[in-house]
């Protein structure tokens, strides 16, 4: 696990064990990239470095974002998509990674459907691993880009009321955000149907509350974070699909309960009419596209920090 002492040199596996100092460093550096950025211009701080992007789960946006981040810093990147089925037939995860490690990349960015897969590998490989999402556990760069986006609209995270709504149980985005936001003193309200909101979530960190009611979650909120309803990650029927939008879909009437300057976020890709209405998705309050843009800056900062 990454600790404050060794910083991010060993990789970035999650937010939970990251110190405030490290997070602040990444956010500050990402902000610098945001200010400097002239579209298309490349830096050369990571020239000659090789980053392997290894995706065991399909993800166009996260993979592309890391790829662009690596290229803007002058690093070379190789992107590999591995269908889970071919792994089960052939090479084990350990063998796949050993093979790649023998090619001596400087870092491996990895997404995997199994929680803890990057942690397991980090114990056996000497190469830094950046977790680009592991199962239902963590998605650290998403929480970093979300924090950066909030800070584009608010001076600090302290005391903010953040409502996170949707399939919390199966969300790595929610877990990473809970850890990050509470480290900086935000009040987080998690909201979803009881089958997707185990009570133990309330003990993830201090300052976390749970509710099954949208209006309760949103009243007075500074930030509304909608989650994708990850039907592909669900093992069983947990909510009558036809009722979902009626109970937990974000509509304009909800947004009006929040603070007037509320921002609405979503990690994407959005399901219009399932998690939120088109009206809200396209509204002034929506910062969904800023999140995408900030993703590149945050990942540049992480790559720079991880690569020695």
């Amino acid at each position: 696990m990454t600790t404050a002492q060794d910083g991010l040199r060993a990789g970035l596996l999650g937010i939970e064990d990251l110190s405030r100092t490290e997070i602040e460093w990444i956010l500050r550096r990402a902000k610098e990239f945001q200010r400097q950025q002239t579209p298309g211009r490349k830096l050369d701080t990571l020239r000659g470095r090789m980053v392997v992007l290894l995706f065991f789960e399909s993800s166009t946006r996260t993979r592309t974002s890391f790829e662009i981040a690596a290229k803007r810093l002058g690093a070379d990147s190789v992107s590999i998509s591995v269908a889970a089925s071919s792994v089960s037939k052939g090479e084990s995860l350990v063998d796949t990674l050993n093979t790649l490690a023998a090619m001596r990349p400087d870092a491996i960015v990895m997404r995997h459907a199994a929680s803890g897969a990057p942690h397991f590998l980090a114990r056996h490989l000497p190469i830094p691993i950046i977790n680009a999402g592991d199962g239902t556990h963590e998605h650290p760069t998403q929480a970093l880009l979300d924090a950066m986006t909030i800070l584009d609209h608010r001076p600090s995270l302290e005391g903010l009321k953040v409502a996170i709504i949707g399939d919390i149980a199966h969300s790595r985005v929610a877990r990473s955000n809970v850890h990050l936001l509470t480290k900086f003193g935000a009040d987080v309200v998690l909201c979803g149907p009881p089958t997707l909101l185990p009570e133990e979530l309330g003990r993830l960190a201090p300052g976390v509350k749970l509710t099954y009611r949208m209006d309760e979650a949103i009243r007075g909120a500074d930030v509304i974070m909608m989650l994708r309803v990850q039907l592909e990650r669900q093992f069983e029927t947990t909510f009558p699909a036809g009722e979902y939008f009626g109970f937990y879909g974000l509509r304009q009437e909800h947004v009006e309960l929040a603070r007037p300057d509320v921002i609405v976020m979503h990690p994407g890709p959005i399901n219009r009419g399932r998690e939120l209405s088109s009206e809200v998705a396209d509204s002034q309050q929506s910062v969904i596209l800023n999140q995408v843009e900030n993703g590149v800056f945050v990942r540049m900062a992480v790559l720079e920090r991880v690569l020695p």
Partner: protein
Amino acid sequence: MLVIRNGRVIDPASGLDAVCDVYLAAGRVAAVGANLDAPSSAAVFDATGMTVAPGFIDMHVHLREPGFEHAESIETGARAAAAGGFTSVCCMPNTSPVNDSATVTSYIIERAKQKSVVNIYPIGAITKGSKGEELAGIGAMVKAGAVAISDDGRPVMNSRVMRRAMELAKSHDIPVIDHCEDLNLSAGGDMHEGETSVRRGLRGIPSAAEDVMVARDILLAEVTGARFHVAHISTHHAVAMVAFAKKRGLKVSCEATPHHFVLADSDTAPYDSNYKMKPPLRGKHDVAAVLEGLVDGTVEVIATDHAPHAGSEKMQEFERCPFGITGLETAIGITLEELVHPGRITLRKMIELYTTGPARVMGLDRGTLTPGAPADVTIFDTATAWTYDVNKTQSKSKNSPFHGHTYKGGPVATIVAGRIVWQR
């Protein structure tokens, strides 16, 4: 002929606890007493400062033979048992083929005669292929030497089938051992459902998966009058229900594994498959309830659920790894450390949990040092520090979370039918 001199001999069955000698001859206990005369041809084992007990019995192990010899065999599993101080083990039927017929039962007994240094008692399956549908040839297996029935690892979900199995088991005077797990409630789970599983993003196995099956089986035991034994009990509700059943006078018993009374879910290294087993390591209050059950007698057996898996099977993503850990070689060390040294139970009580307890549940004519009994003896010490090194295990598999742990006291010598089969 072997004479064990000057050990502290504790034989709970006869109430003996004294420093004296044990004389073994012709595969039997010939005499127990101070300064025994023995023929000069008899070998002498100096047990000064050590504890001499009836041979320990582990009523719940997986020897993997036939079918999974890459992970364990009757020969290697038996050597691991001997190295852990066990003179007898009962092996679960989830082999390939499943031990659901007299043919497989006889095969195991035959292999054990050729290859095993300890006594091996096969447990037959409840249903054919342990599929939970059609009853296995229970009577024929009992005739061939099976001492109990269980569909361990693949519990019988159909309550009607379980009821019939209990009725038949009663007629053969053998216990029904159930791995109590509602497979619908536990489906997809990788560890105990609780704060730790939620934090790690792992699917949980709720305590209720065990509780509802323990409740069902106790009710069926009352209906049928069968002897029913809960394998590897892990939840506080299950312990309470077994205590309730005993109070009602039912023939209900249960066992606990060392890992379930020493580790909780929050103690586990994240995503380390050496902490992955069924039932999963539960919450702190469950561990406390199992400990309490051991102290108050609700839990009358310690069994290891020794479940070897080859290294490659455990070197995978956590959710892909099979369930189970090895346990034979660490049981005595853990029991001393967790139960005896802190004063929770006496040394005599510990010996009961490994001898008279399992012998009573399984109906075995063992577990005592009274003259005439089989010459099975476990000699251990309670003071010498030693560190468990999984790389030196007698088992074929190394999936233990206790590697590198230092214990105070452990097995010294294991004697089966008067012969020393393992020595420290």
